[in-house]
Symmetry: C2
Subunit: 541 residues, 2 copies
Amino acid sequence: MKGLMQDWQLTTNKILEHAKRVNPTREIVTRRVEGNIERITYGDLFDMSKQVSTALKDEGIGLGDRVATLGWNSERHMASWYGAMGIGAVLHTVNPRLHPEQIAWIINHAEDKVLIFDKTFLPIVEQIKDTIPTVKSFVIYAGADTMPENTLGAVPFDIWIDGRSTNVRWGDFPEDTACGLCYTSGTTGDPKGVLYSHRSNVLHTMITMQRDAIGMGANDVVLPVVPMFHANAWGLTFSCPATGANMVMPGAQMDGASIYELLDTEKVTITAAVPTVWLMLLTHLQQNDLKLPHLQKVIIGGSAVPEKILRAFEEDYEVDVVHAWGMTETSPLGTLGTLPPHMVNADIDTRMAQKLKQGRPPFGVELKIVDDEHNDLAWDGETSGRLLVRGPGIAAAYFKGAGGNVLDAEGYFDTGDVANMDEYGTMQITDRAKDVIKSGGEWISSIDIENIAVGHPKVANAAAIGVYHPKWDERPLLIIQPAEGENPTKEEIFAALEGKIAKWWTPDDIAFVDSIPLGATGKINKLALRDTFKDYKLPTA
Amino acid sequence: MKGLMQDWQLTTNKILEHAKRVNPTREIVTRRVEGNIERITYGDLFDMSKQVSTALKDEGIGLGDRVATLGWNSERHMASWYGAMGIGAVLHTVNPRLHPEQIAWIINHAEDKVLIFDKTFLPIVEQIKDTIPTVKSFVIYAGADTMPENTLGAVPFDIWIDGRSTNVRWGDFPEDTACGLCYTSGTTGDPKGVLYSHRSNVLHTMITMQRDAIGMGANDVVLPVVPMFHANAWGLTFSCPATGANMVMPGAQMDGASIYELLDTEKVTITAAVPTVWLMLLTHLQQNDLKLPHLQKVIIGGSAVPEKILRAFEEDYEVDVVHAWGMTETSPLGTLGTLPPHMVNADIDTRMAQKLKQGRPPFGVELKIVDDEHNDLAWDGETSGRLLVRGPGIAAAYFKGAGGNVLDAEGYFDTGDVANMDEYGTMQITDRAKDVIKSGGEWISSIDIENIAVGHPKVANAAAIGVYHPKWDERPLLIIQPAEGENPTKEEIFAALEGKIAKWWTPDDIAFVDSIPLGATGKINKLALRDTFKDYKLPTA
Ligand SMILES: Nc1ncnc2c1ncn2[C@@H]1O[C@H](COP(=O)(O)OP(=O)(O)OP(=O)(O)O)[C@@H](O)[C@H]1O
Ligand SMILES: Nc1ncnc2c1ncn2[C@@H]1O[C@H](COP(=O)(O)OP(=O)(O)OP(=O)(O)O)[C@@H](O)[C@H]1O
Ligand SMILES: [Mg+2]
Ligand SMILES: [Mg+2]
């Protein structure tokens, strides 16, 4: 027997329609690439997005066609999203920090028909334009007066939508229709495309609006530093209009001073970004003796939160840190570090130890950990294994079948991460499967070693990788990028590790480099490191 | 093109599975009908619910079969819900406050096969047992030692589930499968059955978990005074396990002293009930000079919140009141009175005036108001018309087709309420369509008049109804139930209304009665009142 309830399809256009209806005057504030601040309301965004829909339809774009953006976080970028998705086109966010060749590869793989981009990326687009034949039109986020010269025949975005009808029908398709395409960061190999549906995005939005997840309200002011091209800005592009929270969009400027200025002048209450962004902000705050009186919550994810960032926010600035784990394939939020009830009144060290872990899954995300034979492992806070995840916001396959079948028999997706779980569902990432250091058959957590090393004041960045060892097969080598003007010794680093990790986890050697290579989302590029150190001979070998 | 995300069906069993996995030690605390306090965890509830599933299957219950409960809020009642829903049976909550004949009528209409009930209702069940032939087995919420004598061949619940397997498969059906049946209160006529689906209940849960809706977290302690038979306890039966909040179940005792005791000893942070419950609590607090140090939020709905209740909570006890509107047909939450951003810093009178309105729709609820010709009306905070609602938690039809087609051409459900909307989506109920007082073709809001009258210290309850007038067709008569030991005069009541409503809204007369009749959910029974006063001659007529 079926229930007799309304068949209200979960399509993303309903999010912006809601914002327009009940929070029409709440704002999106953008720092334009020209440097000035632009303010529009959700009411304006609704109209702009409708005009984008009309412009796209006039270009012949319809259901299933891919529309690519190479854009910073901005109100125009938002309008491009809702405009494309509303008519059933697929908004493809391309990560502009990738190598131009990779960008071209992704655009070709996606068969994008329209490319809308920020002026910043004009040199990239000019460079690849002859290698992306599927792209029929180019639009640049600019007005008539701010349009750069180009050889693309590109139109300024403002002119492109100017005067177009807002009278276009949205959401006239089933909820499992594709609406977004985002490729993984390419940290472990070639980027793979994740094809979001309207349903998955709406449900992910509802999941993240839970109070223990991000839990923003209409009265919040949210600054997504995390880019829209980095896994949907962690869903904030949807959850902010869904709740009516103001959005503050940093555009191209994500340095400490620029972010601080926005946090301060716009009285931001919630913000989100990867750890490297916060390192820049904290340095700026410390050097200029500034405070964060308005900020309540900072969501940090994408890679593990170093303890010094966590402690600085919590202890020096009284900002609640929510450590989050996720992936492009999980829409992206999978776990969030809001303290579980039994930890709320614990002492500071216990709370901080909990917050260094990657958090707990909200309702709508199911996790399990398995061993190499795919047996379920215990949730004891110690046993670690491959992390698998299931839910309405989790990928079932990659675009065009890349990577083949990625689900197990129960429908769980293999994250490629290695983690342990405690009895309250707290998940702790110890490694990526591809980065795991396997010494004598046992796993050593590279993340644990790195976190401790990065806590040393003379260390800027640290990476532990496994290198060949004749007896143990692999042993850890710790690679250190010293902090500016510092010259740490091996002894100092070993001393910092002493007593904080199991003896047999202690790296067999430490190497110093000028700079540790980072990938397109600011994560350590271990592929490159392993290549550099592939012939390294350990003193113990 | 379809998205490539997982097909994770939205079934209610996933809620309890989530609670068991990540909040296994959070508690459900129940005041048993015997008076003692019983504590179990979500882990225990999971096992109990699985055992209920097995017991039901052993009785031959399966997909689509109706299982009825006549029960107070309790952990056993919760287990009955999840146990029945998990195997695709339909849990039918019967309102025990209805007349026994109506209860029998509803059970027959629903064709319930199993009836599980609290001892309190044994006399009712004994009385109707020969008139409900579809019911094959009776189960009483009791253990072997607390089982009452009966002529039903009933089994004690604890024995019924004792030793049964917990190894039963849940959720093996599509998300639009029926899972719950609840009849409307019967305020305006015969109760009509609303048939919830798994999908509608899960989506309603996600909607209410938004921070600006109920927004509870795992660390909350939630006391649903609102009964599970009153529109799913406003969804708390689902949202509490979904977040991991502790539940405190009041059983049969909902008087001021009993509720206060639970609020205090269990350190309740969020509670929910209809206004009459809060009147009893506030009287108890005032008479005994008590405070509410733990309580943060009280959700009040089901009928309009009188100003004295609102002010007492907000001003005397520093508890945030969230006025909510909803109906059985809306799962039930439709709007919630969390302050919109532009009101947060307003002065107290502005804020209280806003909170007396019924609130704003969260994402997932769409409202419109229409005139008699079904034209959309302006959202200007004044124009009032019939309220229509659309969303994934809103009924599309009644059980067995009662009432025929209830949706308009755009799929909106007609609530039967009359309301105005402001430009930020704040909805204010002015009447029920069936209770509207139409004077010379213009509507007078009975709720406005009643709210002011109830604010008078000498008034216990008040109801405005339309009675015949030769010139104006109908004019308002105000019926007053004096507060205990008080003898208000007509002049005093008129003086209280003076200047607070339009002159032409002023009732043509005031009548005093010993007690205003209430329906099964504590709402004023205007059908009965109109009947009593049908021949009333107004002095102005
Ligand atoms: N809080 C966190 N702590 C540790 N690692 C994290 C955290 N959040 C995310 N990660 C890592 O980032 C990964 C997801 O990143 P993303 O989807 O951007 O692409 P990627 O995995 O880096 O790239 P690719 O899949 O192409 O190799 C996770 O699988 C995990 O390894
Ligand atoms: N906050 C509120 N303010 C005013 N009225 C309210 C409020 N909340 C609910 N109501 C009234 O209660 C109604 C829903 O109640 P419910 O579903 O319990 O059954 P009922 O409408 O009383 O009974 P029936 O539909 O059988 O006549 C709403 O339609 C509305 O008239
Ligand atoms: Mg990855
Ligand atoms: Mg009704």
